[in-house]
């Protein structure tokens, strides 16, 4: 069953007596969570991710637009009739109940024919607990659990009523770095096992890229781009997406296209056939530099960081927006520094051009970039 959002808009009235106008948290947002997929909703804080989540689960009513679960429109259904499982950022486990009681709670809310018998409830709770591997913690209270365990209890509580869609709000932000890696794999595994379409919200692009089948990038309530993580990374639609995805981040330089050549600081560095002429922003992924003694791009070398598998060179370039730019080279590639200068040639598929005014992508013909 696909979850579909159609032209969702959410406006909040201005708060306070003096405030004027209203805040648009989400604007004309449309995307789809395909059946059985794990979708990462990604964006900086305050971009409307959580509002979107709340609209899907029914805690907030959209100002405009529609939400479909499969064929059924649920836009105006109250949360309890939608069949959503939600995992809150702080887990919201009831502190006065044991783990088992927490997991049983949603089942005990069911009424009429839907309500399973006592023993069925227990059976289902135990089954879910086994799925997230917390069988041995059932008699504990939430405060006696570690962050990762609490997270699993929260997932179990969301899954136990077999929701049509699972929503996770910043599921990993309360965990320490090591646990985060482990838990994100765990979430991915559980999602694949249950096959429930899942949307999770995060501001951490690495998190989203690593486990999502699809990612949806948002900025200030507006959808920027969606697609498979690699696709979006290799083909950013605009400067924002290019900057938001990837660690270390993309290097942004100010350049100019003239005569079919991309010029940085006046020097031609790359042929860009088909690109329109004029001043541009140039995004170069750190892995887009190739050391080349005769290369067209000359940079001042600041320092070299040897990381074993790869080498990271921190350089300066007059056209660069930041103080330094970073090039990542495979360790067998060697760059020769001469009088504090290194020269690179660029891999065209790792170079993106953006219009100065709109920050939209300018395409150019690049044989290495299939389907671009």
């Amino acid at each position: 069953m696909n979850i579909t959002l159609e032209n969702l808009t959410k406006r909040f009235p201005a708060r306070g007596r003096k405030a004027q106008g209203e805040t648009v948290a989400v604007k004309d947002l449309s995307f789809e969570i395909p059946d059985g997929m794990l979708v990462g909703l990604l964006g900086p804080s305050g971009c409307g991710k959580s509002t979107t989540l709340n609209m899907i689960c029914g805690l907030e009513a959209p100002s405009e637009g529609k939400i479909f679960f499969g064929e059924e429109e649920v836009t105006h259904l109250p949360p309890e009739l939608r069949g959503v499982g939600m995992v809150f950022q702080n887990y919201a486990l009831y502190p006065h109940m044991t783990v088992l009681q927490n997991i049983l709670f949603p089942l005990e809310n069911l009424k009429g024919e839907e309500r399973p018998s006592r023993s069925e409830m227990r059976e289902r709770a135990l089954e879910t607990a086994r799925l997230v591997q917390i069988e041995e913690l059932l008699d504990r209270r939430p405060k006696e659990l570690s962050g990762g365990q609490q997270q699993r209890v929260a997932i179990a509580r969301a899954l136990v009523k077999m929701p049509r869609v699972l929503l996770l709000d910043e599921p990993l932000s309360n965990l320490d770095a090591r646990l985060r890696l482990q838990t994100r794999e765990e979430i991915c595994k559980i999602q694949k096992k249950t096959g429930i379409p899942t949307l999770f919200v995060t501001h951490d692009q690495e998190e989203a890229m690593s486990i999502s089948d699809r990612i949806v990038v948002m900025k200030e309530g507006v959808l920027m781009q969606q697609g498979r993580p690699q696709e979006v990374y290799d083909n950013p639609a605009n400067l924002f997406v290019a900057k938001f995805l990837g660690t270390p981040p993309i290097n942004v330089l100010e350049g100019e296209v003239s005569g079919g050549m991309l010029r940085l600081d006046g020097q031609p560095v790359l042929p860009v056939p088909g690109a329109e002429e004029g001043p541009v922003y140039v995004g170069i992924r750190p892995e887009g530099f190739r050391p080349d003694a005769d290369g067209p791009m000359a940079c001042g070398l600041n320092r070299v960081e040897v990381l074993g598998r790869e080498t990271s060179m921190v350089c300066t370039h007059p056209a660069c927006q930041a103080d330094t730019l970073r090039a990542i080279l495979r360790s067998e590639e060697e760059a020769e520094a001469q009088s504090g200068q290194v020269r690179f040639s660029l891999r065209p598929e790792k170079v993106f051009l953006f219009r100065r005014s709109s920050e939209e992508r300018i395409r150019f013909d690049c044989p290495a970039r299939a389907g671009a």
Binding site: E80, N109, R157
Partner: protein
């Protein structure tokens, strides 16, 4: 180490001295008074040591009346006021418009002068030559006869006292419970809503357990406060509470010391010690009962 602990004691000294002089010593002194038989106030002498004072107090019909009154007051007002406060504060926290206004209105009795409150109750309940009081007026609409609430039957006077007590203690309880309710994290309610929890179930399974520590606090302090009731009774029924049959234990202690029939510190001390024992027992029972239920 040695020096440190000497310093610590030095810092503690002022409060220890004050506590010793004004709290510990009087407490012990009361205990001593209560076992000195035939104590003479003027000559500061006594004839022997024993339990006679206790026996006298426990056989004094006025004391028994006071104990009965106090217990009735405690048993009626503590649950009533707590439940009422809970209902009101729940209602208060679920409304948005005019919430501040209602909060202020409910808190007003707390800052109102006792004498002014007494006057209000006079208007409500007191019979004068011209009127039977506001409550009697309302009763007459339903055909119920005028009742003398101030000088009439014991149950009517007890009703007024309980009504007054509930009304006086409500603001503080509402204040405490409203802030307790506000401190419950909103995501618990969101989680419950997503799971389709009914309002009643949210209240009994989530809200109530979450604020139970505050409720326990209110019940315990409510018990203690009600056991110490005295001034309310005076405000309503005047100083001769024994004659009105409306005395409380603390009132009895006061009367034994300074009242018209007073001048018996030994009896007063014995009654005070008995009150202390009662309050201590009830508080211990309270804690034992609630400890298991309140885990957080």
């Amino acid at each position: 180490m040695e020096q440190n602990s000497r310093k610590a004691w030095l810092y503690l000294l002022p409060s220890l001295v004050l506590l010793g002089v004004f709290l510990i010593y009087p407490l012990l002194d009361v205990l001593v008074y209560s076992v000195e038989e035939g104590y003479n106030f003027a000559s500061q002498t006594y004839q022997g040591v024993g339990a006679y004072n206790y026996s006298y107090v426990l056989h004094d019909p006025y004391f028994l009346q006071a104990v009965e009154n106090t217990f009735v007051l405690v048993i009626l007002t503590v649950p009533t006021s707590t439940v009422l406060a809970l209902l009101i504060s729940t209602a208060l926290s679920s409304i948005r418009p005019l919430r501040q206004l209602f909060q202020t209105i409910y808190f007003l009795p707390y800052v109102t002068n006792t004498l002014a409150v007494g006057l209000v109750f006079m208007v409500l309940f007191q019979r004068t030559e011209y009127t039977d009081g506001l409550v009697n007026l309302m009763l007459s609409w339903f055909g119920a006869g005028p009742i003398d609430f101030i000088n009439g039957p014991h149950w009517a006077k007890m009703f007024v006292l309980c009504f007054y007590t509930v009304w006086v203690v409500l603001p503080f309880k509402i204040l405490v419970l409203t802030s307790a309710l506000a401190s419950v994290n909103d995501t618990y309610y969101q989680a419950a809503r997503v799971d389709g929890t009914s309002r009643a179930r949210i209240f009994f399974r989530i809200t109530l357990p979450m604020i139970s520590p505050m409720i326990v606090y209110l019940v315990i302090t409510g018990f203690i406060g009600a056991f110490k009731a005295y001034s309310d009774a005076v405000a309503l029924f005047g100083t001769d509470l024994n004659a009105a049959g409306m005395n409380t234990i603390v009132g009895y202690v006061y009367d034994m010391l300074y009242g018209d029939s007073g001048g018996y510190p030994s009896y007063a001390s014995a009654a005070a010690i008995l009150l202390f024992a009662i309050v201590l027992t009830i508080t211990c029972i309270n804690l034992l009962v609630t400890r298991r239920r309140v885990s957080d």
